[in-house]
């Protein structure tokens, strides 16, 4: 009876994740948590992000012709432990956008699939202190032919990305500090039109996309059932150009953002297969991007293929 109830609860939580609330800053390619050998975990994460102010270049402004831009997504994230020190993980999202004012129609569709290999080559224990090093390699690409040249209402950037990330984690008892830096190698984009102007006219449908760097610092409590961390995020585009006055945004803009947030993960004591995640973030500074506030909520289910 109890098992039946829990199975129903599990289903309910998945439905909640899919259709109602919440998503994922708690991307496991950015934390120091590893699946154990043969452990499999997957779940859904709902994210809601919105902004009504954006940076046109470095100038912060509003725009009554778009009002508030809202992006929502549901992401599916499986994660598997090949060994205690080597995990593979993937994610794929369905995304939809809308503008609260003006005439522009939002877009929706399957966005990107991203896969990571997460390797922990080094763990040093010194009494209650634990220092770990992680190396991650990932690749992401669109899984549908979505429209990229429709910012800020496109559902994704549309590039194929190679991502390399280094991550260092320090843990003292239940407290942790984690720092990571990633380089994102982005492919060129193909537009539906045959020319475009960035800082000069280009007679081609192909856009050279600047690469990007991503940094994160996170710290908090890492307990047996509860994980709670504060996050500092930065995304820096390594190149690109500024939106000129009252112009449209463009894929190869120099898009930067710095945000702070919190993230939680709670594993049910009554059913340790099941964990709930949630979080929120707000943007402090940016360039050629919206000043987004976001929150997410999700549920994950973990079990062992073999004991």
């Amino acid at each position: 009876m109890a098992r039946y109830f829990l199975r129903q609860l599990h289903k309910l939580l998945l439905v909640v994740a899919l259709f109602a609330v919440g998503s994922s800053q708690a991307q496991t390619d950015m934390d120091a948590i590893m699946m154990n050998k043969h452990q499999f975990c997957s779940g859904f994460d709902y994210m809601h992000s919105s902004w009504n102010r954006y940076w046109e270049g470095t100038l912060k402004r509003t725009n009554e012709n778009i009002g508030t831009i809202t992006t929502q997504s549901v992401m599916f994230m499986p994660n598997y432990g090949i060994s205690n020190n080597l995990n593979v993980m993937a994610s794929a999202a369905y995304v939809w956008t809308e503008a609260s004012a003006g005439t522009m129609k939002g877009m929706k569709g399957m966005q990107d699939i991203t896969a990571f290999v997460k390797w922990r080559p080094l763990v040093k224990m010194l009494g209650s202190n634990k220092l770990s090093l992680f190396l991650l390699g990932g690749y992401g690409a669109p899984i549908s032919n979505y429209v990229v040249d429709y910012l800020p209402l496109s559902i994704g950037m549309g590039t194929k990305n190679w991502i390399g990330r280094g991550l260092v984690d320090y843990q003292y008892k239940h407290l942790n500090v984690t720092a990571s830096a990633a380089y994102v190698r982005r492919s060129n984009l193909t537009l539906d039109r045959t020319s475009y102007y960035d800082t000069q006219l280009h007679l081609t449908n192909e856009v050279k996309m600047p690469d990007a760097a991503q940094y994160q610092l996170r710290a908090g409590y890492r307990g047996k059932y509860l994980l709670a961390e504060a996050l500092l995020n930065n995304w820096t585009t390594l190149g690109g150009f500024d939106i000129t006055r009252n112009n449209m945004p463009f894929s190869s803009n120099r898009m930067n953002a710095t945000s702070v947030g919190v993230t939680f993960k709670y594993t049910l004591k009554t059913n340790t297969h099941l964990s709930l995640i949630g979080g929120g973030s707000t943007t402090l500074a940016g360039r050629n991007m919206g000043q987004a506030n976001a929150f997410n909520i999700g549920a994950f289910y973990a079990f062992y293929f073999k004991k």
């Binding site: 012709n65 005439t103 129609k105 492919s187 039109r193 045959t194 020319s195 102007y197 449209m248």
Partner: protein
């Protein structure tokens, strides 16, 4: 530990491989072949010009003889330049060798795209108007929206054509051979030609373009001058012209341009912005006819784009003809037909397919682009490159196309502001669009009018592609319905009116002496 380092080495190798993947892009006309006309059009000095009454309207002095010390010194100058050519200089020669009309058309398209951005509002909700006398102050001059751009393409192309007709007249008259014909030892980096090189056709196009762009894009003089200097130098480096060929050509181009500048100053485009009194009168007149008037869908409400542009003096016909080209009225805003057309747009926008969206964005040519006339110039240029035409025929065909596009803008804007018809999203706010709603009345569709005109002219110039141009025009036209910003009547009538305008250019083409 050994395993650790070998893994790190493997990872590093993968990273280097990923990073070394090229992001290089080759743009469409970057490798355009050097102009090598199959027909030099030696009689083009007799072709009918647009404004010049005679090719001799601007005098070009007789050139110095090729056996004079001065001329020999000019050849020596080329040789000095050529002694140490850098890779950049070779690239410059290659770039300009594709054709003067092509490259200056591309520069014009670039300037249009750069300036095609609507000004941001004032604090009180009104909008500032760009000022030609102070072009670098915000909002920078010009706002090169579609009518402004159409006129710019029209003037620059027509002026280039007239200047080249005159140049061809003097080339034949003076018959001074190219430097490489005089000195066989001269290194030549472009295809040789029997065409006399005085005055230089490249310098003519450069001179006329510089003067026209000074009027149209007064804030971009540095950039334009830099291009002009590169162009002249490329011709010297190439061994295609001596300095006196260039000087005479540039002077001719500049002088011919002055005639077009004078026309432009009096063609009524200066008043195209209108006044608040004119804007409200248009609305009142529309209401008086029992119709729902157009309203700006922007916040704050923006005055309509160049509402008096329909009064601009056309190139291909007089103002009475212009009015005769005006279509009959659109379906009444309260009529069953309008309701049906509105429902059709609403239906199309419920769930646009990826292909419909592609079509919308392929033809959108909105903010930050070279506009629909620029798109048609790009289509034309891609095809003209394959034709091995002389510089003067390039100019003539671009002028026919761009005069038709400018006049299409005039007739279209006349219709838009005569009928002042609302956009679909005004009559049904539930219609969300997948391209920006242009800030001017709906009937008739500008894209359709431009495209109808362009397809008619290009179909005449390159008959084997006529059906393709018609198909493109149809697609450009229907893209505006797919986008949710036009009704079927706007598009269908726009195509017909555009074709009627284009036929005036075809008529001119048949009688200008070039066919």
């Amino acid at each position: 530990m050994k395993k650790f380092f070998s893994t790190i080495l493997l990872i590093s190798t993968v990273v280097v491989l990923v990073l070394s993947c090229s992001k290089g892009i080759t743009e469409r006309t970057a490798d355009a072949p050097a102009l090598h006309p199959s027909n030099a059009d030696t009689e083009a000095g007799t072709w009918k010009a647009v404004l010049l009454a005679a090719p001799t309207d601007v005098a070009v002095p007789a050139p110095i003889a090729t056996n004079t010390p001065d001329y020999i010194a000019q050849i020596a100058e080329i040789k000095t330049w050529q002694a140490n050519l850098t890779a950049d200089e070779k690239a410059m020669v290659k770039y300009w060798s594709a054709g003067a009309v092509l490259r200056w058309n591309e520069i014009l398209r670039e300037l249009v795209a750069k300036h095609n951005v609507p000004p941001y509002q004032n604090a009180d909700g009104t909008y500032p108007v760009p000022n030609a006398a102070n072009p670098l102050a915000y909002p920078t001059f010009p706002f090169s929206n579609p009518p402004y751009a159409a006129r710019a393409y029209g003037y620059v192309s027509a002026a280039q054509y007239d200047a080249l007709v005159s140049a061809w007249y003097y080339k034949k008259m003076y018959s001074r051979p190219a430097p490489y014909k005089v000195d066989a030892t001269l290194n030549v980096l472009v295809p040789k030609s029997d065409l006399p090189s005085y005055p230089s056709e490249d310098a003519v196009v450069e001179g006329v373009s510089v003067e026209m762009l000074k009027l149209l894009f007064p804030g971009d003089q540095d950039y334009i001058q830099q291009k002009a200097e590169e162009h002249r130098r490329a011709r010297l480096l190439a061994g295609a012209n001596v300095r006196s060929d260039l000087e005479a050509g540039e002077a001719l181009g500049r002088a011919v341009a002055q005639k077009f500048v004078a026309r432009a100053r009096g063609d009524r485009a200066g008043g195209a912005v209108g006044t608040p009194a004119i804007w409200s009168q248009m609305e009142t007149d529309c209401v008086a006819k029992g119709e729902t008037p157009w309203l700006s869908l922007e916040f704050p409400k923006r005055p309509p784009m160049l509402p008096v542009f329909g009064k601009v003096k056309a190139f291909l016909f007089d103002s009475l003809t212009c009015i005769s080209l005006r279509p009959g009225p659109p379906p009444a805003t309260g009529s069953e037909k309008m309701k049906k057309e509105l429902d059709e747009v609403a239906q199309l926008l419920k769930a646009p397919s990826r292909e419909q969206t592609r079509v919308v964005h392929f033809w959108a040519d909105g903010v930050g682009t070279y506009t629909p006339p620029g798109h048609w110039d790009a289509i034309a240029a891609d095809d003209f490159i394959t034709k091995n035409w002389s510089e003067v025929r390039w100019a003539r065909n671009m002028a026919l196309l761009n005069m038709a596009l400018m006049d299409a803008a005039i007739v279209c804007w006349d219709s838009k502001f005569t009928y002042f018809n609302p956009r679909p999203s005004q009559l049904n706010p539930a219609i969300k669009t997948i391209t920006g709603v242009p800030n001017f009345p709906s009937y008739i569709s500008g894209h359709s009018t431009f495209s109808g005109a362009a397809a008619a002219v290009l179909g005449h110039l390159i008959p084997e592609r006529a059906a393709d141009y018609q198909a493109m025009a149809q697609e450009a036209s229907v893209s505006r319905m797919y986008g949710g910003i036009h009704y079927r009547s706007d598009c269908e009538v726009g195509l017909v009116v555009g074709k009627n305008v284009g036929n005036y250019a075809v008529l001119r083409a048949r009688t200008d002496g070039a066919e």
